[in-house]
């Protein structure tokens, strides 16, 4: 809502309060002022001039030489380039010495040899926002009404001395969508009175009786419908002062009748509509819901498809308006209109809101109806508009008014208890402190002991219960005056849950391992959502019903596509050595259309690419590889105390290199995978060799074990025995390890692979693997013979089960 300071001053005394002061006071008490705009952008010495003569410039086709009377002894000769300048016009003239916005000074000049003593101004040159003005005025000079006095200063004429406060209203304060509502708010802040406009209606026409008939067929949607008839209308532009006020409020002036309905809407908050009475069949108004498939053309010449939830104003045969949103083109007031039917009605906010949304049509009227209009403004606004039309459009108001009332909400009674007020705010207010604020708000009340029985005026639809009154008292008392305390009562212990603490641990370990955390969007493109296998069941990505773009139209089911995109983004910026991870939610469902909430799982994704080390003056560059990433996972899993870790070769994982990928299996459960991205996928994302992992973080957290306490340090020495075997290349290290673990007996403490060597000289398709087995008995020192015996079993088992030959 844009509030003209000068207009506001008509309803409440703001003397002694600058617009900036007022803005600050409004903001601090709950009605935020987003901007304060001074309409005078630096105009001085511009006056009303009268063009007495216009001649072509002798040497320039597009210039005119005008003689302009500005009330001085002589006419001013001014060269003007505007197309629309004509003799006989009243125009704004910047005389020599005047200033225009941008610190532009008017001087005597010669234009193509002709002297020019001043400038005839356009609206834009005067710093005015001309967007709401007719096109010819935007392109040329500002033509003023003929009745203005020559030589008078332009500021009051154009409202340039006004200041506009732009309110950023919260949805509850629809009362401030009107000038009088703002006046009540300002009056409450300043402790002053409100002066409402007089409602004197000169009913000098014939009776409305029998000429207008109202039927409300949708009583849930329309609570009251009133109308007046005004005849003898003379359509014309509205007076300049009214146009200035409308433009200050951001409303386009159209003609006197429409302008008056808008003006009264701005003043009272009650939207009004004028129909051409002649186009309303038999003066009948039927308020009903639209029929399926029904259509109508609105005032903006657009055909609207209607449905059964939309409320219409009809004349019993045809729709003549979408209730509360926009009138119909078929009943528009035109030059030919003699009699108008002026509507003032109260529609249900939710109904108008729905209709406006569906039609994608939000008008100043619908904006107000949606947020509930003061039901008592219906009649007041109707009378106010009628009297203005009589005054400014030469109308004759019929006697009486048509009125169909379903219900008028009564003023609410709300009890305020002093103890509740102080208990909720932490204040120590007295009864008088509260009641004096109610008086400033112009709420009536009676006190009963420590209880105040408040009658809430209907303009404040937002106030329905005690806390609402408490808020009114608190905001006008000033939040600054509420003390600052700390809660008392039971002490509580703040601590993270196991899951939250372990999630932090995962981050810490991966940070410690050298990975940077990233944070990607949750939405993704349906085409890439499944570029990688999910680590959960095969699930369809959940689509948004109205995405903003296809790129972000479904919810992610795995983290890797975004990680690859991030890698590509960084590669493009010459950042190729990447070590990244994300811990975030993925969204899973087995339903085609959600009927219940999907499962949200915490997933952990990682990506490594480029060099892990160097190039450094001491070392050669060391590119990342599978075993680096695997080692990091081992560190993480160990840190989480997860036992039973297994890496199984996995060939068929989508998006992954079939020979360089392992499934991570934890205690028999598949927790995710790790490996190199499939070269084809790498190419799709335009990245080089890239290694990734993706794990079910919820599962990691579930399997994590808390530290069990210290294990005693070994008292007896461990002894290592190395064994180097030649096996088929297809025999995996994991198999060898398993065989050793199964055969070595209880003393085996650990197995370490310290060399793998592939060479055809070892035999066709053979490789050599060297392992070191460490044996220890916690109770005593093992003898050489015992170790030899255990180790022999290992060698034997390797030979039998893996076809291993001992290497010399």
């Amino acid at each position: 809502m844009k509030v003209s300071y000068n207009w506001l001053a008509q309803y409440v005394d703001v003397s002694g309060i600058t617009p900036e002061d007022l803005a600050e006071k409004l903001t601090r008490s709950g009605v935020e002022v987003d901007a304060v705009e001074h309409l005078n952008k630096g105009v001085t010495d511009v006056v009303v001039g009268y063009v007495t003569k216009k001649e072509k410039h002798p040497d320039a086709d597009k210039l005119n030489v005008c003689q302009v009377d500005v009330g001085g002894e002589e006419l001013l000769q001014i060269v003007c380039g505007a197309k629309n300048v004509e003799a006989g016009q009243k125009v704004p003239v910047a005389v020599v010495g005047a200033k225009l916005p941008g610190d532009f000074k008017i001087k005597k000049a010669k234009l193509r040899g002709v002297a020019s003593n001043g400038m005839i101004c356009s609206a834009k040159e005067l710093g005015m926002n001309d967007k709401l003005m007719p096109k010819e005025i935007q392109e040329g000079i500002l033509v003023l009404p003929e009745d203005l006095e020559v030589g008078q200063p332009i500021h009051p004429v154009l409202g340039l001395d006004d200041v506009v406060l732009e309110l950023g209203l919260t949805p509850n304060r629809s009362d401030c969508l009107s000038m009088t509502g703002v006046a009540y708010e300002v009056a409450a802040i300043l402790g002053r009175d409100v002066k409402l406009p007089e409602g004197n209606v000169p009913e000098n026409g014939s009776s409305i009786e029998g000429k207008v008939e109202i039927n409300i067929e949708a009583p849930d949607h329309c609570h009251r419908y009133m109308a007046r008839m005004i005849s003898g209308i003379k359509l014309a532009p509205s007076p300049l002062w009214m146009q200035n006020r409308l433009m200050a409020a951001g409303v386009r002036p159209i003609n006197n009748v429409v302008d008056i309905t808008n003006y009264v809407m701005l003043e009272t908050g009650q939207p009004l509509h004028a129909f051409d009475y002649a186009k309303v069949d038999n003066g009948r108004i039927v308020v009903r819901l639209a029929k399926s498939g029904e259509k109508m053309v609105t005032l903006d010449d657009t055909e609207r498809a209607l449905d059964e939830e939309m409320l219409l104003i009809t004349d019993g045969t045809k729709a003549i308006g979408v209730a509360g949103v926009m009138g119909g083109a078929n009943s528009e007031v035109t030059e030919a209109t003699d009699t108008i039917l002026l509507e003032s009605a109260h529609f249900a906010g939710s109904s108008i809101r729905k209709t406006a949304r569906k039609l994608g049509l939000r008008s100043e009227a619908s904006l107000r109806f949606e947020k509930e209009v003061d039901p008592q403004a219906v009649e007041r606004a109707l009378d106010r508009a009628a009297s203005l039309i009589a005054e400014l459009a030469n109308g004759q108001i019929s006697q009486g008014k048509a009125d169909k009332t379903i219900s008028i909400p009564e003023e609410k009674q709300v009890d305020l208890h002093l103890s509740r007020l102080n208990g909720l705010l932490g204040t120590n207010l007295q009864l008088e402190d509260a009641t004096s604020i109610l008086e400033r708000l112009k709420f009536t009340y009676v006190t009963e002991g420590e209880t105040v029985k408040v009658t809430v005026p209907t303009r404040r639809q937002d106030i329905t219960r005690e806390v609402d009154i408490i808020e009114e008292v608190a905001r006008l008392y000033g939040y600054d005056h509420i003390p600052t305390t700390l809660p008392y009562g039971d002490n509580t212990q703040g601590m993270l849950t196991r899951k939250q603490a372990l999630r932090r641990t995962i981050r810490q370990v991966l940070n410690g391992a050298g990975l940077d955390e990233v944070s990607a969007y949750s939405f993704t493109h349906p085409d890439i959502a499944h570029d990688f296998a999910t680590i959960y069941w095969e699930t369809k990505p959940i689509p948004l019903s109205m995405p903003m773009s296809e790129e972000r139209s479904v919810l992610r089911v795995n983290l890797l596509p975004h990680l690859l995109e991030i890698a590509a983004y960084n590669n493009n910026r010459k950042e190729r050595d990447l070590a990244l991870f994300e811990i975030g939610k993925v969204f899973l469902t087995d339903e085609e259309t959600l009927s219940r909430l999907p499962e949200e799982r915490l997933a952990l994704g990682g990506l490594l690419a480029g060099n892990w080390v160097g190039p450094h003056w001491q070392q050669k560059a060391e590119p990342v590889d599978f075993y680096l990433v695997k080692g990091m996972l081992d560190v993480l899993l160990n840190r989480l105390g997860i036992i039973g870790i297994e890496y199984r070769p996995a060939k068929g994982i989508k998006g992954m290199h079939p020979g360089r990928t392992a499934e991570v299996v934890l205690q028999g459960k598949v927790a995710g995978y790790v490996g190199q991205v499939h070269p084809a996928t790498q190419q799709k994302y335009d990245v080089a060799e890239t290694y990734v992992f993706q794990l079910d973080a919820d599962l990691l957290i579930e399997l994590a074990t808390i530290h069990q306490g210290m294990v005693p340090l070994p008292k007896y020495p461990a002894i290592s025995r190395d064994v180097a075997v030649v096996v088929d290349r297809g025999v995996s290290a994991g198999e060898l390890q398993k065989v050793i673990e199964a055969s070595a007996g209880e003393w085996l403490e650990s197995v370490r692979i310290f060399d793998v060597y592939v060479d055809d000289r070892l035999g066709e398709n053979k490789k050599s693997v060297a392992l070191s087995c460490t044996y220890r008995d916690p109770e005593r020192t093992l003898t050489d013979e015992e170790i030899q015996a255990a180790h022999s079993k290992v060698v034997e088992a390797l030979a039998v089960e893996c076809g291993a030959e001992l290497r010399g």
Binding site: G423, L425, G426, Q500, S522, I542, L544, S545, N570, L594
Partner: protein
């Protein structure tokens, strides 16, 4: 025979050439101190300063103070012989000491020290050799000379030790000098990754509220319309729903537009128990076009406290405490009346600008204040719907944008940085 002093004679190379004394005391083994001997014409010699520093007197059996006394001529030769023996060992010891010390002074390497140790103190060394001559000495003279021998040994030994240490030091220094490297060459870096700045700030906020006795609660990002709106006093078609344009999946299911539904879910779980003290961080979603200050995904943290005597003044206290821990000790807060459907009274909370300290700058648009929080007293209807009697219990709630706080705290000018994940950006958050 003329009288002369030994000292005089000993000073000249040819002073007593050919005399007996000359042959007994080779020049390099002369006594270190002059012994004044008077040789009289009668053949009687008398020792003037007969007592040397060690109290040794060759003429006294007692080893005490000798007095000048005449010796009968017939015993003169005997005397000379005795003198010769005594002085031979004694002087040789003294001479050895001087010679050893002087030689040691010249050397600088540990090997040389060892060599000289063998030369002087070894089993076949010079000292041993001299002392071997002690056998010829009388029983009285032996301990005296023996003691002198020990003194010489220890003098040489301590000098040897001193030189050995010095030599070792010198050798170590030389070795270290030869080992010096260019310390300005770059080191081998150990990789340490960084938390995402949003994680950094989230954890900071969590820790502050944990310290005030709050716990952390979480809820789903995909929510029902019921929890996201209706339980928060936002019935269908409520105009306030426009404040947050939402991403719907079905008519009843949407991406949550705020973390407030976790309030209600928490209260439902608590089943009427008090106090409820939680914060709820997490992602939220709004239909905003992404630009420098808007993102369709961002992070919020919600706070809720419900109990029997929870007051708006407590809300101020808790938020002031938070603001000071987050933005610094001198931070002030300011509450402005506002509107949220789920709180009444409601307040926007500004903190004094941490960039300019409240003086006004570009960041705070010259107001001195930064708007960071929405808050208020939990609306009675919200309490009711979550199973708490609003006649008995009150509560406060607040919510803030983590992205915005991170932007203010670190001076980040574009919210999209958080989701673009340029590593040059991420790597800047490597402290605290």
């Amino acid at each position: 025979m003329e009288t002369s002093t030994w000292s005089e004679r000993s000073q000249g190379e040819n002073a007593v050439t050919g005399s007996i004394l000359e042959t007994v005391f080779p020049p390099n083994s002369l006594l270190s101190r002059p012994l004044n001997v008077k040789v009289r014409g009668s053949g009687i010699i008398s020792v003037i300063n007969e007592q040397d520093e060690s109290g040794f007197c060759p003429f006294s059996n007692k080893g005490g103070t000798a007095t000048s006394r005449p010796l009968p001529g017939g015993r003169f030769f005997y005397f000379l012989m005795r003198l010769k023996e005594v002085y031979t060992v004694r002087e040789r010891l003294e001479a050895l000491k001087a010679e050893a010390l002087e030689e040691l002074e010249q050397i600088g390497q540990t090997a040389q020290v060892q060599e000289l140790r063998v030369k002087y103190l070894g089993k076949k060394g010079l000292l041993t050799e001299i002392l071997r001559g002690m056998g010829k000495l009388s029983a009285e003279e032996r301990p005296v000379i023996g003691q002198l021998g020990n003194e010489v040994r220890s003098a040489i030994e301590s000098k040897l030790e001193e030189k050995k240490e010095a030599a070792e030091r010198a050798e170590i220094e030389a070795k270290l000098a030869s080992e010096s490297i260019d310390v300005t060459l770059p080191g081998r870096m150990v990789h340490v990754g960084n938390r995402h700045p949003l994680t950094l700030v989230t954890e900071q906020i969590e820790d502050i509220f944990l310290g005030m006795g709050f716990t952390v609660a979480e809820g789903p990002e995909i929510e029902t319309d019921y929890y996201n709106f209706e339980t928060l006093n936002l019935p269908k078609n409520h105009p306030a729903r426009d404040m947050q344009d939402s991403f719907y999946i079905t008519e009843e299911i949407l991406l949550r537009t705020h973390t407030s539904p976790v309030q209600v879910r928490t209260m439902e779980k608590m089943k009427g128990k008090v106090p409820v003290k939680v914060i709820c961080p997490g992602r939220v979603y709004r239909r905003d076009n992404d630009d420098a200050t808007h993102s369709h995904v961002f992070n919020q943290v919600e706070g809720l406290m419900v109990g029997e005597n929870v007051r708006m003044s407590d809300l101020k206290g808790v938020l002031l405490n938070f603001a000071r821990q987050m933005f610094g000790e001198g931070t002030e807060i300011r509450l402005r009346p506002s509107f949220f459907p789920f709180t009444e009274p409601s307040a926007e909370v500004d903190v004094s600008c941490s960039m300019c300290g409240g003086k006004g700058c570009r960041v705070c648009k010259h107001t001195g204040w930064l708007e960071i929080l929405g808050s208020g007293m939990v609306h009675p209807r919200v309490l009711e719907m979550a199973g708490y009697d609003p006649e008995k219990y009150t509560g406060f709630a607040f919510g803030m944008g983590i992205d915005r706080i991170a932007m203010l705290k670190y001076g980040i000018d574009d919210i999209r940085h958080f989701y673009t994940n340029d590593v040059r950006f991420l790597k800047q958050f490597n402290r605290v």
